[in-house]
Symmetry: C2
Subunit: 774 residues, 2 copies
C-alpha cells in the first residue's frame, strides 16, 4: 500500500518531468531552425515562411533575443486565446469538437470532485472501519475512500445519494454537450462553403450488366430513378499499379532536381552508380540517367493509364454520383434504391480527402464475412494476445537464444548483454506490441472494408477502447491476464463479478493515481515537445533534404490521431467515474490531466497538427456512448462494492441507476444520432434556395467535375507533363469551365505521425484547394 508520502514523491517526479518538458519546449520552439517543427500548420496554410531572409547568419538558427525566453509558459494563454469559431475556420470542426472532449471532462469532474470532497471525504475520513479491522496495509489514501466505512453502516446512504447526483450530473452535461455538438455540426454543414461532398453520393455494389458499362449503367439508373436531380457521376478506377508508378516517377524527378541544383552549384556534371542505393554498379551521368529513366516511366505510366481508362475491367463496381442540388443528394443518400438492399447501396460521399479508395469496390457479402472474421480475430487479440508475446519473450530469453542460435553464446555470456536481455528484452517485446497495437487495429479496420479514413479511425478507436478496458482497466484491477479474467468470468456467478471488481477497486486507487501521473501528466507534456518529429526533421534536413519540396515533406505535423487519442481519454473518464464515489482522492489528478491536455492539444491543433480529413464531428456518438458505458460500469462496480460491505438495505436502490442510464443512452441515440448520419432535407433545401438566389449561373457540373478523381489522376493533372493532357481529354470530352487552380506544393498534407497507417498510400493530394474557387 502506498502512503500519501509515496504519492507525493511520484507526483513531484512527474510534475518535475512535465516542467522539464515544458521548459525544453519553451526554449526549442523559439529557435528559428525549429520553426517548421513547432509551427508546421502555419507553413502548410502558407501563412508562415522560413525566417531565413536577411539578418545575421546565426539568427537564422538560434534566437538570441533574451526577452523571448522570459515568459516561458506564454504559449498556454496564447493557445486559449483563439475563439472557437475562428478555430473551426483554422483547423476544422473535427479538431474543435475533439478539444471539447477534454472540456467535457472538466465540466463533468470539477463539480463532481467538489461535491465528493465536501460530502464523501468527510464521511469516509471520520469513519473508523480500517482502524477497527487493524489493517496494517491501509494507507492514508484508503482513509479517504469508502473502504474506511464500517460494514452495514448507514453512511452508505451518502454514497448512494452521491451516485445518484453524479449520474444525473453526468447525464445532464452529456445531454447538453450532445445538443451543442449536433447543432455545431449542422451549423458547420450549413454555413460552410460549397463542398463537393454536399452534392455527391457514393454508390457501392453496382451489379454487373452484360450489355452496359458501369458508367452507362450508373447514368441510366440515376437518370431514370432520380430524374431532374441527377447531374453527373464519376466511376472509380482500380489505379493501384498506376499510383505506384506515379510515386516512383515523382521520386526520380526529385532526384533530377537535386542533381540539377548540384550542377548549378558545382558546375560539374554529377555522376552516380546505378546499383543498389548508388553504392555500386556502372558509373553514369546522373542527369542523363534520370532523364531517360523518367522518360521510360512516363511511357509506362501512359500505357498503364490507357489500360486503366480503356479496359472495362479496371472500372470498379462503385461510383460517385453527383446531383444538381443538395436536396437531390440528401434524398439519394438516405433512400433504398432497388429491391435488393445489398445492391446500389448509397451513402453520403465522404469528403474527397477522406476517401479510402482501396475499399470502395468490396461487395456486400464479402464485407459481411470480413466483419465476422475481424470480430473473431479481435476477440482473440484482446484475450489471447499474451500467448504469442510470451512465446516471443521465451525466445528472447537467454535460454531461447542459446538454443536457437548457439553461435551467439559467447556474445550472450557478456555480462552487460546478458543483463540487458534478462532485464529489458521481455518488457521491450511487450512494449513493442503495444506500440504497434493501433497499427494492427487500423489494419484490421482496413480489412473490414470501411470506405473512408474517418470511419477506419472510428472503428479502430472503439476496438482500442475495448482492448484498454479489458487489458488496462480490468487487467490492473483484477491482476491477471485477460484470458484468466475471461475464464473466471465464465466460471463465476454473474452477480459475483461486480463484487470481485468492487472489492478490488478501492485497493487499486493508488496504482491508478500513479498511472494517471505517468501516462496523463508527463506524456501529455512530452506531446508538446514533439521529440520524435523534432529529431526526424533535423536528421532529414541534414542528410536527405535536396529540394524545397523535400523540406516541406520533412515536416511531420501529425494529426490528432483519433484512433489512439480518444480511447486514452475514455480511460480517464472511466477511472474518474468509477472512483468518484469510491475514492474521491483520484479526482483531482484526473482534473489536472484534463486541464493540461486541453491546453496542450489546443496549442497543438492551432500550431502543429494538420488534419487529414474533415468528417464534421461524426465521431461524437461514439464518444458519448463510451462515456455512458463508463458511467454504467461505475454504477455496477459501486453496487458490487456495497454488496461486499453488506449494505443490504441501501444497495437495491442502485439498480435503478443503470436502467435509467441505458434508457438515457437510447433516448439520446434517437434524439441526436440521426444528425450525425443523415442530412435533413429542410437544411438542404434552404441552402439550395440560397445558392440559387445568390449564384444563379453557377456551373455545378464543372465544379464537381474533378472532385472525386482518384488522387493519382488528380496529382498528375497538376503536373506539367504533356502526357496528362491526352489523359484528361480521354477522361472527359465535355466542356469544363472552372479549372482547378490548385497550389499543390503548399497544400500537401502529410501522413499523420500517430495514425500513420491511416492514410492511403496515394494520400498526399490536396482536396481543399478546390474550395477556394470563385
Amino acid at each position: 500500500m502506498t502512503t500519501l508520502g509515496d504519492i507525493g514523491v511520484a507526483a513531484a517526479i512527474n510534475i518535475g518531468s512535465a516542467f522539464l518538458f515544458f521548459l525544453a519546449f519553451a526554449i526549442l520552439r523559439l529557435q528559428p531552425f525549429n520553426d517548421r517543427v513547432y509551427f508546421p500548420k502555419w507553413y502548410l496554410k502558407g501563412l508562415r515562411t522560413d525566417p531565413v531572409h536577411g539578418g545575421v547568419f546565426v539568427r537564422k538558427f538560434v534566437n538570441l533575443d533574451w526577452r523571448a525566453y522570459l515568459g516561458f509558459l506564454n504559449w498556454m494563454p496564447e493557445a486559449l486565446r483563439m475563439p472557437e469559431p475562428e478555430l473551426i475556420d483554422h483547423a476544422g470542426l473535427d479538431s474543435v469538437v475533439y478539444l471539447r472532449i477534454y472540456l467535457l471532462g472538466l465540466k463533468i469532474f470539477v463539480p463532481i470532485a467538489f461535491l465528493a470532497w465536501i460530502v464523501l471525504v468527510p464521511v469516509n475520513w471520520t469513519s473508523t472501519g480500517l482502524e477497527g479491522a487493524k489493517n496494517i496495509t491501509s494507507s492514508n489514501i484508503d482513509k479517504l475512500s469508502v473502504s474506511n466505512v464500517h460494514s452495514r453502516s448507514e453512511r452508505f446512504w451518502g454514497h448512494i445519494v452521491m451516485a445518484y447526483a453524479f449520474t444525473f450530473w453526468v447525464c445532464y452535461i452529456l445531454l447538453k454537450e450532445y445538443e451543442k455538438v449536433a447543432s455545431m455540426r449542422l451549423e458547420f454543414l450549413a454555413t460552410e462553403k460549397r463542398r463537393p461532398d454536399q452534392f455527391t453520393v457514393l454508390v457501392r455494389n453496382i451489379p454487373p450488366d452484360p450489355d452496359e458499362s458501369v458508367s452507362e449503367l450508373v447514368e441510366h439508373f440515376f437518370m431514370v430513378n432520380h430524374p431532374g436531380h441527377y447531374l453527373t457521376h464519376q466511376v472509380i478506377y482500380d489505379a493501384n499499379t498506376l499510383a505506384k508508378l506515379v510515386k516512383k516517377k515523382k521520386k526520380l524527378q526529385n532526384w533530377l532536381v537535386y542533381y540539377r541544383n548540384k550542377l548549378e552549384r558545382t558546375s560539374e556534371r554529377p555522376e552516380m552508380k546505378t546499383g543498389f542505393l548508388g553504392l555500386w554498379g556502372k558509373k553514369v551521368d546522373a542527369i542523363d540517367y534520370h532523364t531517360t529513366e523518367i522518360d521510360k516511366l512516363s511511357e509506362e505510366i501512359a500505357s498503364e493509364r490507357k489500360k486503366v481508362t480503356d479496359d472495362p475491367k479496371s472500372v470498379m463496381p462503385a461510383a460517385f454520383v453527383s446531383f444538381k442540388t443538395r436536396w437531390g443528394a440528401a434524398v439519394c443518400a438516405q433512400t433504398q434504391q432497388t429491391r435488393n438492399p445489398t445492391l446500389w447501396l448509397t451513402e453520403w460521399a465522404p469528403e474527397p480527402r477522406d476517401v479510402y479508395w482501396r475499399n470502395l469496390p468490396i461487395p456486400y457479402f464479402s464485407l459481411s464475412v470480413r466483419r465476422l472474421i475481424m470480430a473473431v480475430a479481435f476477440f482473440f487479440l484482446t484475450f489471447f494476445f499474451m500467448i504469442p508475446i510470451a512465446f516471443v519473450q521465451a525466445l528472447a530469453s537467454i535460454e531461447g537464444i542459446e538454443r536457437i542460435a548457439p553461435w551467439l553464446k559467447p556474445l550472450v555470456s557478456v555480462p552487460f548483454i546478458k543483463s540487458f536481455i534478462q532485464g529489458f528484452l521481455p518488457g521491450i517485446v511487450l512494449k513493442l506490441f503495444l506500440i504497434f497495437l493501433p497499427t494492427i487495429l487500423m489494419i484490421m479496420s482496413k480489412f473490414e472494408g470501411f470506405g473512408s479514413i474517418s470511419s477506419l479511425e472510428r472503428r479502430s478507436a472503439s476496438r482500442y477502447y475495448l482492448f484498454n478496458f479489458v487489458n488496462i482497466f480490468l487487467g490492473n484491477v483484477l491482476t491477471g491476464s485477460a484470458f484468466q479474467q475471461l475464464k473466471s468470468f465464465v466460471h463465476q456467478p454473474a452477480n459475483q463479478y461486480p463484487i470481485t471488481i468492487g472489492t478490488a477497486i478501492p485497493l487499486k486507487a493508488t496504482f491508478f493515481i500513479t498511472y494517471i501521473m505517468v501516462d496523463g501528466w508527463a506524456s501529455i507534456a512530452a506531446e508538446v515537445l514533439m521529440l520524435k518529429p523534432l529529431i526526424f526533421y533535423h536528421l532529414k534536413n541534414f542528410f536527405l533534404v535536396k529540394t524545397e519540396k523535400d523540406r516541406e515533406e520533412a515536416m511531420d505535423p501529425g494529426s490528432i490521431g483519433f484512433n489512439t487519442g480518444e480511447p486514452r481519454i475514455q480511460l480517464y473518464f472511466l477511472l474518474g467515474l468509477v472512483y468518484a464515489a469510491v475514492t474521491p482522492a483520484v479526482l483531482p489528478f484526473i482534473i489536472i490531466f484534463f486541464g493540461l491536455a486541453y491546453v496542450v492539444f489546443r496549442h497543438q491543433i492551432i500550431n502543429v497538427y494538420n488534419q487529414e480529413y474533415e468528417s464534421g464531428a461524426q465521431f461524437w456518438p461514439d464518444v458519448h456512448g463510451r462515456i455512458v458505458i463508463a458511467l454504467t460500469v461505475s454504477q455496477i462496480v459501486l453496487m458490487g462494492l456495497l454488496t461486499t460491505k453488506k449494505a443490504a438495505s441501501s444497495t437495491p436502490f442502485l439498480i435503478v441507476l443503470p436502467i435509467l442510464t441505458i434508457w438515457f443512452y437510447r433516448y439520446c441515440k434517437g434524439r441526436f444520432e440521426p444528425a450525425f448520419v443523415k442530412f435533413p432535407l429542410q437544411e438542404a433545401m434552404m441552402k439550395d434556395t440560397l445558392e440559387k438566389a445568390t449564384e444563379p449561373h453557377l456551373n455545378l457540373k464543372g465544379y464537381l467535375h474533378n472532385a472525386y478523381i482518384h488522387p493519382v489522376f488528380k496529382d498528375s493533372m497538376d503536373d506539367e507533363d504533356d502526357d496528362d493532357d491526352t489523359f484528361s481529354n480521354n477522361w472527359e470530352t465535355e466542356s469544363m469551365t472552372v479549372r482547378t487552380k490548385r497550389h499543390s506544393q503548399r497544400h500537401t498534407p502529410l501522413p499523420s505521425r500517430i495514425s500513420g497507417t491511416s492514410s492511403p498510400p496515394q494520400s498526399p493530394f490536396a482536396g481543399d484547394g478546390i474550395q477556394n474557387e470563385p
Copy 2:
C-alpha cells in the same frame, strides 16, 4: 418417468379428441343454420348469402342430404386446393405468409427428423449408458435420447456433426424463405392496385407554431421542402368523444329499426320503459322515444363535430401527407426532414384500416418514457407474475373466503362447493390470468404508443414469446418459478446455466411430448370447430338479433391473431430444435403439429378469418429472428449437455455454431430487412411511370381525399343524415370529383375474436371499399 406405453395412451386420447372435434366440425358445418359461423369470410366478401330462399322449412336449418356427410374430412384437401396467388387475392399477403410459417416448420423438421432417426437414434439406442448406471427411472424414450450414451463416449461426435448439419439446414431454409417472403412482399406492393398508403406518409411530432395552424404549417412545410411532389394532407382530429356519441346513436338507430319492424309485424305500437335495460321506469311509446333521443343525439353530434373541426385545440400535432407520386412519398418516408430528428418524424402511413388513431399524437419524449416504463413493467410481469396470482389464490382458498366474507361460511361448507374451491379455484385463477395475458400485453403495447394495429400486434407477439420462453420453456425445464430461475441465474456462474438446462432437457422430453399433443394437436383441432363463435352466434341470433345488420354483427369470424398465434408456433420451433439432437423422438410429434395446423389454418383463412389490416408481411423479420434465437438456444443447450457428459474433446467444436448463427442473423438483417421497412425508389418509379402511361388523367387528389379521415367522420359521411353535408363542406372546400361509393354494410369487418382488444374502439369501418374505384 413416462414409458412409451404412457405416451401411447396420451397420444390415443389426444388423437381421439382431435378426431371427435373434426367429426363434430364435419357435421356442424354442413348445417345451413351454421353457415354464417363456418363461412363468414364469404359473407363478408359478399360472395355468399343466407341459404333461406325457398325450399322446405327444415332444409333452412338442417342439411338432410346424406351424401354430404360421407367424406367428412373432405374440407382438408379442399383447403389445400386454392393456389397461393389466388389465396393472396382472397385473404391478403399477411395470411398467406403466416401460413408459410407452418410450411417452414415442415420444411425444417421433416429432413431433420429423417436424419436424426437415421443417424442419432441408432447411435443412442445401441449405447448402454443407462443400463450401466442402473437407472430405474429411465423410460424407453430415454433409451432413444442422448442420455443413453456413456460419458466420455466418442459417439458424441455424431451429435456434434448432426448439430452442424441441423444448423446449416435451418439456416439454408431460413435464408431461402426470407428471400421468398421479401420478394413476395415487393411483388405484392408492386402488383397490387393503387392504395392510398402508397402515396401517403404519416408525419408525427409537428412542432407548435404560434402563427399558423397545424394544417397551414404542414402545407407550407411540405410545399417548401418537397416542391413538385407534395399533393395534399389530412390533419388528425381528436375525435374520441365524437366517436362515442356516434356509436351511441347507431345503437339507438338499430333499436328504432327493431321497433319499426315490430310495429309492421304486430301492427301495435311497441312500448318500453326508460329505466335501466328497459326493466323499470316510465312507460313510453318506443318509436317516439327513440326518434326524439336520436334527434337529441344528432344535435349533440353536430355541435361536437363543429367543436372538433373548428377548435384548433382538437387538431393533433400529426398529419397524413400525400404526394403526387409514389416516388415522392418513398423519399419523404425515408428521409429526415429537419435538424431536430424528433420533430416532423415521417414514416410510411399504415393502411387506413391499420391506423391506431389514439396513439398518433404522442410526442417523442413521452414515447421514450413510455417505452422505459413498459420495459420495466414487462420485466416484472414475466418474473413476478406469480406473486399477485398467489395472493389471489390465497384469497380464493377456503380460509381466505371465510376470513373476508364470514357470511359465506355456510355456503362454503357445502362439500361440493368446498371441493370445487379447493380443487379448481387456484387453477382457474392462474388459467384466467393466462387467458387475459395477451390482452394485458396488448394494452401494454398500446400504452407504449405504436401507431398501427399491425405494430401493436408485432410488439405484443415478441413480448408473449419472451413470456412463453421464460415461463413455459425454462419454467418447465427447470421446474421453478421464473423468479427462482432468475435468482439462480444471477447466482450461478455463467457457464453453469447451460449445463443446468442441458442436464434437465432430456428428462423433460416426455413432458413436452404430452404438451405438444394437448396444446398442439387437440387445441388446433378445436380451433376448426369454432366452438365459442358457434355458441355466441346462436345465442345472439336467438336473443339479440333484431335487424339484418345485427345478424351480420353476430358473426364473429375472428382473425389470425398474430400476437398470440405466432409466439405459440415459435414455442414448437424452439422445442423441435432443442430436442433435434437430444431426443429425436420428439420430432414426429412436432411434425404432426405443423402439418395439422397448416391444414386447419389454411381452411380457416379461406373460409373464416377476416383480416383486420394488411401490413404486407411486415412481421417476417420477427419470425425469422425468433427462429434464429431458438437455434442458438438449442446449440447452447447441447453444449451444456455435452459438458455434463464430459465430452471435453468434442464440445469446443460447438462454440463455432452460435457465432456462425448470429453472424447469419446479422447478414440476413442487412440483406433482407430493409425490404420490410423501406420502399425502393426504383420500384416506386416503375409503378409511377406505368400509371402515368395508363391513366394520364387520374385525379389523385380526389382519390386520396378521404382516405385518411378518422373513421368516425368516414362512417358518418356514408350515413344518410343531412347534418353530415354541412360537415363535409366545412371539411373541405375544394372540388372533389371522385366520390367514394362504398357498400359499408357488406364490408364491415368485425373485431377479432382472439385479438379482440387490438381493434380500436372506432374500428368497424370499411377502408377497402375505396379500392374498387374506377
